[in-house]
Each structure stands twice: as structure tokens, then as C-alpha cells.
Symmetry: C2
Subunit: 191 residues, 2 copies
């Protein structure tokens, strides 16, 4: 195999640097969620992927650590949901396979939509201490996106392991991006 | 952010090219599973990661498409389980975000151990039509690896969507790699 076949490169579209203010502090849940939703909106408007955005923050300071946008179609990779990219980039930035280290402040993942089964598992391994989600999985399913095998016990499993979960933040604004994607006729890549 | 912070590079260790015979055909479940187990064994012996290996094959021909080994610690990335790497590399090789396309033959994922919750979700999105697993999730949990929120309904969910699941193939040989890892004192990165 060639080197190109032996390694995958996963990153955000270039426009992210124009949209994201890395120096800002995101103090409230709404501020954090608005960034995730704006990433989702720009991903739709610029035609670079599905209607989902995510970001990792230091919880206490509101410092932005990483962002992700859905990149499945753009990068021809079904694993590159917004949450996965944000987690991978956050871990690369801090230089650790887990964000849960005594020398690191607690981190949280903010996603414009309830994570799918893959991403919910990834949240557990990532070391974030909190998940904040916007649109409901039912909203994604209404668009014919499948969310995979998630059950009430799935959330309880994470909670029992110290991951706080808050869902439904700015749900209406998050759902509006799903609707925007539908109006644009964007592909449902995992129907 | 620098370019290095904006993109993640995910690939297998170099030794994979010495161990894997890309030209061979893997006709039986045992032949396919032995490759996944050998990848897991080499990953432990060479100190490049956790005791897990995986591969994607074309089901009918037994042609090998991609391989993956657990790379969490080596690449400081909690998402890079063996199955995730194998799926990403397979999709890159065929140039599609799904292996389920009418112009492609059906594919299967072979893993030396039951996939965790993240990887099981990824199996669903990958487009493989079959999952073949070796060691049981209970075997991994006995080593203090957490497998995440997986329930009997999780497997049923995939089956209902056309993913055939066969578990317990060469389980004893697969479990022996977990034991080898324990004897070597390898880190449990998601305990």
C-alpha cells in the first residue's frame, strides 16, 4: 500500500478559521452552544458537510480548545462526525489520549445535536466530564438521520461514570439548522 | 491554530507492512480472524498499543482491504480503536464514506474482540454487511477494559439494519492476546 492509503488525515474545513474566535471565552451554556450551532450552520451554507457542529471547552474558564464539523461526505469517512473531530483535535492539542488528567482542567463537549451511538461511546473514552447537546435525537431522526443503538440506559451508563449530561440547550436554534439542511437537499449519508 | 493542530493523522505502525500479506486471500472465518488476532498480538509484542486488531475484507472473495490496530496510546487519540482505523482506511481505499454501494462488493469487519459502544456504532455507519468478532466483551472487561453502553438491543439494532453479526470466533486464541497484554503490564487506557 502507498503511504496515502496507510494514513487518514482528518481536519476541519479552512473556513473554520474565519468563523471561530479562538481568543474569546465562552462562559455560558448558551454561548458555547451558539458556537456549535454556528459551526453547523456554516457547514451547511458552505456545503462542506452535514448539519452538525461541536466544540470542546475547558469547563471553568470557558476557553475554547477545539471545534469539529461533520465531515463524512467531504472526507469520505463515516466516522468523522463533528463530535469525533472535536475530540480528536482536543486530545491532539493537549497531547493526551484522555482529557481527564489531574494536570488538566475539566473539559466538556458541546454538540449541536444529541450524539449518535458512536459519538456517545467516544464521549465516554474522551475524558470530558460533561456533554451539552442541542437538538434532540428525535429531531435528527425526523430528518431521516439514524442515531444508532442508543437507549435511556446509554445515558445512564455515562452518568454513572461521571459524565454530566445536559440535553436540549437552544434546541429550537439547533433544529433550525437541520431544517436548513433539508431545504438545501443535503445528503442523508446514514439513513 | 497551526496546521498541525488543525488536522489529525491516523495510521497503522510501520511493522504492519511486514506482518500483513496483502496479496493473500482469506477464505474462511478462521483465516480472517487469525489475521486480526495476529495484528493484536504484534501490537502487544511490539509495544505499539492495546491488544486489539481488526481488518476489513471483501466478503465473497476474501480480499483484504484494510487493517487496524489499537492506536490510542501511540497516537494519543481515544477514538483510534482497531476497528475505527480499519474502517477509516477501508473507506479511504475505496474512496467512499460507505462500503455499502451497489458498485462495490459486500464488505465485512473482523475484530479480535467484541467492539466497544463507539466501534459498534461505527460498524453501522461504515456500510459493512457483517461483523465477525473473537474475544467476548466479558473477556475485555475481565482485563478492566470498559466496553461502554452496549446492550442486547444494540446488536439487535444492527441486525435489523442488515448487519450480520457472528461473535466468539477463535475466542480462546483472541483471549490469549488479552492475557499476554495483562502479563506485560500494558496500560488500561479506558478503565
Amino acid at each position: 500500500m502507498s503511504d496515502a492509503e496507510r494514513a487518514v488525515v482528518a481536519g476541519c474545513p479552512d473556513w473554520v478559521e474565519q468563523v471561530v474566535d479562538w481568543g474569546a471565552t465562552y462562559e455560558t451554556d448558551h454561548q458555547k452552544m451558539r458556537l456549535a450551532i454556528e459551526l453547523a450552520r456554516q457547514n451547511v451554507l458552505r456545503g462542506t458537510g452535514g448539519p452538525f457542529g461541536a466544540a470542546v471547552f475547558e469547563m471553568a474558564s470557558g476557553t475554547l480548545v477545539s471545534v469539529g464539523v461533520n465531515s463524512v461526505v467531504r472526507l469520505k469517512n463515516s466516522t468523522l462526525h463533528a463530535e469525533m473531530l472535536a475530540i480528536m483535535l482536543a486530545q491532539q492539542r493537549v497531547g493526551s489520549y484522555t482529557l481527564l488528567r489531574s494536570e488538566l482542567p475539566p473539559h466538556e463537549l458541546v454538540s449541536s445535536c444529541d450524539p449518535c451511538a458512536m459519538c456517545l461511546g467516544a464521549v465516554l473514552w474522551s475524558g470530558v466530564r460533561r456533554l451539552l447537546a442541542g437538538a434532540d435525537r428525535a429531531d435528527a431522526c425526523a430528518l431521516d438521520f439514524d442515531e444508532g443503538p442508543i437507549f435511556p440506559e446509554s445515558y445512564a451508563y455515562l452518568s454513572a461514570r461521571g459524565v454530566a449530561i445536559t440535553r436540549g440547550a437552544l434546541r429550537d436554534e439547533a433544529v433550525a439548522i437541520l431544517e436548513l439542511y433539508r431545504r438545501q437537499g443535503g445528503p442523508i449519508y446514514n439513513a
